[in-house]
Symmetry: C2
Subunit: 308 residues, 2 copies
């Protein structure tokens, strides 16, 4: 059973009208809210990540989802479970990372940590819940892409997954790719310039599970087909040292870039147009590279599955 099937089980039991996007939009409270976990040995390795870097990344993972929703990241609750042998230095460095990772958000106030808990455990486990304020902005949904919209992205794609591969092989260069994995960039200006100005429904997601996965989810939820031009997707040139670099650009996770489906008139200045939304065809995602066209009826074989 894979993650997507398990989420269907959960939807059926909870009958929740909120589950579907990475953030839940709660109009009665004027917020969007998300929760993401990082598990030692699954999402990070303390051999190559310092507690400070872990804190930075843990909070950015959640800020990224709030930004993609169109809201303004505001409050965080942090659950930290760790072995009792860890000392207060771990906690101190981790929290300094959370603080710094939640600052400098394109003119927005820093994220405030308002609660959470500390527990013992064999492994480090982090779960952060984040609340974003709507503040009159237009909230996105992956089901809002419409035929005729453009597909735009920000950030470089595949670098984080490439950096992880280097770390796993014990390599320390190219440094740029490693840093993309350890300390991902956020794109608050992009997100907020979209959600502040747009008056029409739109889709926006972060690329935490890979660009291809986000594109596929938008296409499926919106009942459309996305036509993408691979050669337009921004990536770091250094990634070409990998044989499978094209797969990394398309399906590598943890970049925390943004991808959006927008009417052309609302595209931010710094966005890169990589394709367009078309009426539904037989497959949800079509990617053209030079003269080769690949049609994806599923992307599961290329994406990370916790329960394969």
């Amino acid at each position: 059973m894979n993650e997507n099937c398990l989420i269907e089980v959960i939807k059926n039991i909870t009958k929740s009208r909120y589950i579907g996007d990475d953030c839940a939009y709660l109009p009665d409270l004027g917020i969007t809210v998300t929760q993401d976990s990082l598990v030692e040995g699954v999402h990070f390795n303390l051999d190559w990540t310092t507690p400070y870097e872990l804190g930075v990344k843990a909070i950015r993972v959640n800020i990224s989802d709030i930004l993609a929703s169109g809201a303004e990241p505001a409050y965080a609750l942090v659950s930290l479970s760790m072995p009792s042998k860890f000392n207060d230095n771990f906690v101190e460095e981790f929290y300094k990372g959370l603080n710094d990772g939640g600052s400098n958000l394109g003119g927005l106030p820093s994220v405030e940590i308002v609660g959470g808990d500390l527990t013992g455990g064999d492994r480090v486990f982090i779960s952060i819940c984040m609340l974003g304020k709507v503040n009159g902005r237009n909230i996105s949904s992956r089901s809002n892409a419409k035929s005729g919209y453009k597909i735009v992205v920000c950030g470089k794609h595949g670098s984080s997954a490439a950096g992880l591969k280097l770390l796993e092989k014990g390599q320390k260069a190219p440094e740029k790719l490693i840093q993309a994995h350890i300390s991902p960039h956020l794109f608050p200006e992009f997100a907020l310039s979209v959600s502040k100005n747009i008056t029409e429904p739109y889709a926006m997601m972060d690329t935490s599970d890979g660009l291809g996965d986000a594109l596929f989810k938008i296409a499926r939820a919106s009942n459309v087909t996305l036509n993408i031009d691979f050669d337009k997707i921004p990536y770091d040139e250094e990634i070409k040292c990998f044989k499978d670099w094209e797969q990394l650009v398309l399906f590598g996770g943890e970049d925390y870039g943004l991808v959006a489906a927008l009417p052309e008139s609302y595209i931010p200045d710094d966005a890169v147009i990589i394709g367009e939304v078309c009426p539904k065809e037989r497959v949800p995602l079509i990617i053209k590279k030079s003269d080769k066209i690949v049609k994806y009826s599923s992307v599961e074989e290329f994406t990370f599955n916790h329960f394969s």
Copy 2:
């Protein structure tokens, strides 16, 4: 370094004005919010807890904190990490437990599960964030106890810790104590009758870390001394099969009863008065049992510490 010291480290780094109570009160959003984790091997054991029971308990742990804040439990986000060998039946039963555990809240609507995430991991790890609506109620704080207030409780104390001891010894009776551990009761009517009517500042906490721990925290935060009459504290008679039953009543955790410091005129009908708030003496907590008086300058040696 113990938990309380680590929390001081966190307060110093985050400079958060919200950390101090089990729930953070966010007036701008009209909510209180809390997050609590349950770690396999630390908080529960799958040998004696079914996935359904785990779901019930996991959500009640958080509802209990929201009730103690005085707010109405409304929304939950659930992070579940589990080994990939677990099947969809585990997820299904766990979520059924969450649903049922979040229902029948003294006339309030059921808690809605609006998000969360699913990840792999060696062990089951659960972290739930819960949002409670203020809805015009008066929100509690552990620093609000004032000299002259009465200390009141609801629920039976020590039963859950006694039940855990039985389970650890492989015993199956008394069933009442075991059930108190597996499937704790909540007290929404008590909590909501307080927060709906009271116009003065008051303190209310759940007894998740033990009654004595909650009393001590209220006394310290409010800068007062609490005088408690042990013989007034409600407990199940079955607990007397334990030699150290008095310690279990005072310091046993996970009962999820409530303890409050209230002006006399606001005490709910079903509350039991166990003591009163007095001007600060040398020690924060004084407990009288028959003709014996114990003065507590600390309760650390009696309470659970994740990082001892």
